[in-house]
């Protein structure tokens, strides 16, 4: 059964009296434990689509089902609860909380969103610190570590709640190539280890090759789908 089903999903933005279509009837399905990339030029609708999948926004038309929930029907509190339980986020600018240490940043969703008991919290944080290779940096604050390390912490934070889905919008945009590959390999490793679905957007052609399924977006429309080892159009 698919983890994510998009049926003719559309999203319009109103700017003054002008309606701008950001997504036009996009349909696709993604299975659990996939490693998927949405690619396309700026303004193609990648971020809009990821925001819809992440329940941060609502579709204007169509139906989008994530982990069995129709995201168009969730209210503000339900969306927050749904995200906290099912979705992890990795941001382009890392978005770590500057007042928390590395381990506290990873622990944050367990503490403030899911209310996990202290023992279990410690166990999960330690496991992820080891998995992303940040054990030695766990007491440092975000401004004391490098960009690549910040993104590794962000990956750990996204995975700590054992989400079904991790969304990453341009996760390597602010990283050099070597670090970008390292982060992507880490994400893939985490997918293998935790069976979590990863969906990321990028416009970096070198990074795209790391994805197992690639969707091409142009002008808000899905123009193609490439599965590693073959190519599907439409």
């Amino acid at each position: 059964m698919s983890l994510l089903i998009a049926e003719e999903v559309g999203k319009n933005y109103q700017v003054g009296e002008v309606v701008i279509p950001a997504l036009r009837g996009v349909s696709f399905a993604i299975d659990p434990a996939s490693f998927v990339s949405f690619i396309g030029p700026s303004g193609s609708g990648k971020t809009t689509l990821l925001n819809l999948i992440g329940c941060l926004d609502m579709p204007t038309s169509g139906r989008l089902t994530v982990a069995g929930a129709d995201v168009g029907t969730l209210d503000r509190k339900q969306s927050a609860s749904f995200r906290g339980a099912n979705i992890g986020f990795i941001f382009q600018d890392f978005n770590l909380l500057p007042v928390l240490t590395v381990s506290e940043n990873i622990e944050y969703p367990l503490l403030m969103v899911q209310k996990v008991p202290p023992g279990e919290r410690r166990r999960r944080v330690t496991a992820l610190l080891e998995a992303v290779g940040m054990v030695d940096q766990q007491d440092k604050y975000p401004d004391q570590i490098s960009g690549g390390q910040k993104q590794r912490v962000a990956v750990a934070r996204a995975l700590v709640t054992n989400p079904k889905l991790v969304l990453a919008d341009e996760p390597t945009a602010n990283l050099d190539h070597q670090t970008a590959y390292m982060v992507l390999n880490l994400m893939k490793k985490m997918r293998d280890e935790f069976k979590t679905t990863f969906i990321f957007s990028t416009h970096d052609q070198k990074i795209v090759g790391e994805a197992e399924i690639i969707y091409l977006l142009e002008d808000g429309e899905l123009k193609g789908k490439e599965v590693k080892g073959g190519k599907n159009n439409g």
Partner: protein
């Protein structure tokens, strides 16, 4: 909750200079209010003490209608035999009463055998009077503080104007209730300053002398001055005594007595009220300082952390928790300002007491300032600061909690 506090405190420490400035502003406000309350309170208490303990007493009881005619000191409105006995029995039964003193008040002419002037006289039982208004003997600036039969304590103004000194013979002439004029020779026992300023014309004689001078055949009393064990019980006791005495009726079935607390009898009560009003305005200024400074800081904090708010909201933090985070920041700043302000304020008040600052009030000179803050004052001021801090944080916190994560994440 502990984690919310931890995050709030770290966020406050993140902008050390701004937090320090805001906390300093609150601290200055709290210090200002505490010192003002302590000094103004000290002055007010001293003033009330001077008025009540050297002249009026805490409460006075008269025959109904006496106070309305007090300018003429009407002898026909004196309390007599049965009423005096009933009133004294009631006063004896009140556990709140420390002492009470009967007085006869009347007007007369004061003569030094060459000149004559008017005088207002209060006839007292010295032993009971000094228990009721214990600062009265302290007003005697020359001569003896003891008042015996045949002696008179005269006001400083009269002594100076009539060139009379302790030991001099004088004559008091007064009209009794029947209208006949009587005179009696007295010896000046002492000269006393006025409790309220240089204009006083009040003298004191013994009750026995008043009876003789006014040809009173039976015991008469113009007023009873009452001193309470605890001044703080004044309002409750006045109400209680009024209730009790309301049941005491004259032969016409009308109330026999009237009760007045000191506030109703002294114009200085208005000054006391003015001090209270000034204190209220100072407290309102503190509220304004806290409200504006905290709100300003929290609005800035929300604006600067929009992306962080977007991040925690995207991760799944509930709006209520985001609201709590910012409200707790305001709360912590209020607590810090109140704690530091109270510490500094108490320190300054202690310093004022150590310095023994002196000031004059009326005829009293060199009164030592005794600034004091009650725990209730500290609690009320602290609670006000903290509650206002929380209220000031609510609007920015609410704004943060209602922020759309998608818009917040896009914020640059």
């Amino acid at each position: 909750m502990a984690n919310l506090f931890k995050i709030a405190v770290r966020n406050l420490l993140r902008y050390k200079r701004r937090t320090l400035l805001t906390a300093s502003l609150i601290t200055v406000g709290v210090v200002f209010v505490l010192v003002f309350v302590a000094v103004a309170g000290s002055f007010k208490n001293m003033m009330i003490g001077q008025i009540t303990d050297s002249m009026i007493g805490h409460v006075q009881v008269h025959r109904k209608g006496f106070v309305a005619s007090i300018e003429t000191l009407p002898l026909n409105l004196n309390l007599k035999g049965g009423a005096i006995a009933r009133l004294e029995k009631i006063l004896d039964a009140q556990p709140e009463v420390e002492a009470y003193s009967p007085r006869v008040k009347f007007g007369g002419m004061f003569s030094n055998f060459t000149e004559t002037s008017s005088i207002r006289l209060t006839a007292i039982d010295p032993e009971r009077e000094f228990k009721t208004v214990p600062l009265l003997p302290g007003r005697v600036t020359a001569g003896s503080k003891e008042l015996k039969t045949g002696g008179i304590l005269i006001p400083e103004l009269l002594a100076r104007g009539m060139k009379v000194k302790p030991g001099d013979p004088v004559v008091i002439v007064a009209t009794n209730a029947d209208g006949s004029v009587n005179g009696k020779q007295f010896t000046v026992t002492g000269v006393m300053e006025s409790a309220t300023g240089p204009g006083g014309r009040d003298g004191y004689i013994h009750l026995g002398d008043a009876r003789e001078l006014l040809r009173m055949e039976d015991r008469q009393v113009s007023e009873y001055a009452v001193r309470l064990k605890k001044f703080g019980n004044l309002a409750a006791f006045s109400a209680k005594l009024e209730g009790i005495l309301a049941g005491e009726l004259n032969q016409q079935g009308k109330p026999l007595f009237e009760v007045h607390a000191w506030e109703k009898l002294s114009p200085f009560f208005n000054i006391a009220r003015m001090i209270d009003l000034m204190t209220l305005f100072i407290k309102l200024m503190l509220i304004a300082i806290v409200l504006i400074s905290i709100m300003n800081v929290m609005i800035m904090a929300v604006y600067e952390r929009i992306r962080e708010i977007g991040t925690i909201a995207a991760i799944g933090t509930q709006p209520g928790k985001i609201l709590s985070m910012f409200v707790i920041e305001g709360f912590c700043m209020g607590v810090a300002g109140a704690l530091i302000g109270n510490s500094v304020g108490i320190g300054i008040v202690q310093l004022l007491n150590i310095l023994k600052i002196r000031y004059d009030f009326g005829q009293q000179q060199g009164i030592v300032l005794q600034a004091g803050i009650s725990p209730a004052d500290i609690l009320v001021i602290s609670a006000t600061v903290i509650v206002v801090s929380v209220i000031a944080s609510l609007q920015p916190a609410f704004k943060a909690s209602r922020m759309e994560p998608i818009k917040a994440l896009r914020h640059v």
